[in-house]
Amino acid sequence: MGYAPLVDGAAPETPEGPPDGLDRGLLWRTLAVIAVGAVLVGLLHLFGWTPGRFVYQVF
């Protein structure tokens, strides 16, 4: 029994992808989601809200 030799120091491939590599797809989609969220909050400020519009209806 032996171990598979590392070739040029490369890490063995795994089903999830290279262990040391960045999942760029996940990163970009995450950034896109953050951008969508920020735009949502921004739009809400611009169009969806007037100061104090929502308060408890008590005095």
Binding site: R29, I34, V36, A38, V41, L44, W49, Q57
Partner: protein, 362 residues
């Protein structure tokens, strides 16, 4: 990667529902939902988590600045009107009064109550010599909600008259959401024993309602857990998300309650019995009551009606009172801020002097 759903997949969601029910914090429900999604599709849950954090943190920071991230500041956002800081009142008609000896923050400002459950400095029941005492009664505008006691219009009136003889004290008997029936009961059972010279009942007061969100005798609710509320949802949908409203809808009917004109008569009677001068003050605008009816009743009993801050009223503005000023206590809560308090005080002092509610300068 999609994973086969298991019987425990809905468990986080159920826990979230329990958290929501116990604390009214929408974030528990959202966290539970994301937890269940994570057991089903982890990557989708990750994107959901990122989106929720972005909109929630973004909303909090945009509304409150750095305070939007601070536990203690957000937890100061308690229901001021019918909340956990009140206790059942000594008299059933008063319904509630402030818990005594509170020393905390409420809606971002210091909030202290004295041993009598008043939002005021510690006061002896017996009036000191050479002192003129004016009781101030009202609801959140009078309290005033979200404004430090030092900046309240009645404190500013007191400050303005500092150094006079007799010394003028304005005693604050207000609780938020107080209605006229409660105001009369507070006048009778709480204010008059302080040996008042004058009493000022301020509108807006809460409407007379049979089916409010409280029970009589008053049972304080659990404290609000504002930190776990979704300000984004409140920001976006407002009262639609106040689930208490859905579970326990309130009615605007005033069936079966003593009519407001009769309550004004009760007020006049109290004033007469205790030799106290009384006035009705309308802060910005009278709502929930028929102003003509109140004014007729007041005139009938010789009670002056003083209107101040009317320039802040307008239609279609922030608060149901028609409050039209950018000087509100914080976004999402349109109660008059410190700048408006100063204007109210400026107008109120001469009006109270004119009507004999304050002693004329020697």
């Amino acid at each position: 990667m999609r994973r086969p759903s298991r019987w425990w997949t809905p468990a986080p969601l159920l826990l979230g529902v329990v958290g929501l029910a116990l604390t009214r914090g929408e974030l528990f429900l959202i966290a539970g939902l994301l937890g269940s999604v994570a057991l089903w599709r982890p990557r989708l849950a990750w994107y959901g988590l990122v989106l929720v954090l972005t909109v929630e943190l973004g909303t909090r920071i945009s509304l409150f600045g750095v305070n939007g991230l601070r536990w203690s500041k957000l937890q100061s956002l308690q229901d001021v009107g019918i909340g956990a800081l009140l206790e059942p009142a000594r008299d059933p008609e008063m319904i509630w009064e402030w818990r005594p000896h509170l020393d905390r923050e409420l809606e971002f400002v210091p909030f202290r109550t004295n041993s009598h459950g008043m939002v005021d400095d510690e006061l002896p029941l017996a009036k000191p010599d050479d002192t003129w005492r004016v009781g101030v009664l009202g609801a959140s505008f009078t309290l005033p909600q979200g404004v430090a006691h030092e900046d309240a219009f009645h404190t500013l009136v007191e400050d303005e008259l500092a150094g006079r003889s007799p010394r003028v004290e304005l005693l604050n008997f207000s609780t938020a959401a107080m209605d006229l029936r409660q105001a009369v009961a507070h006048a009778r059972h709480k204010a008059v024993p302080f040996d008042l010279d004058a009493l000022v009942v301020c509108f807006p007061l809460s409407g007379l309602r049979e089916e409010w969100r409280y029970s009589e005798p008053y049972e304080p609710p659990l404290p609000d857990q504002a930190f776990f509320s979704s300000f984004f949802i409140r920001f976006a949908f407002g009262p639609l998300t106040d689930l208490r409203e859905l579970w326990d809808p309130k009615s605007d009917d005033d069936v079966g309650l003593r009519p407001s004109a009769a309550l004004v008569g009760d007020l006049a009677q109290i004033a007469k019995e205790h030799d106290v001068r009384v006035a009705i003050v309308v802060l910005i605008r009278m709502v929930s009551y028929d102003r003509a009816e109140i004014e007729r009743a007041a005139a009938q009993h010789g009670i002056p009606v003083i209107a101040v801050g009317e320039e802040f009223a307008g239609d279609g503005c922030a608060h149901p009172s028609g409050l039209c000023t950018p000087d509100i206590i914080y976004p999402l809560n349109a109660h008059p801020g410190p700048l408006t308090q100063a204007v109210l005080a400026e107008q109120l002092t001469p009006a109270l002097l004119r009507e004999g509610l304050l002693p004329r300068s020697p």
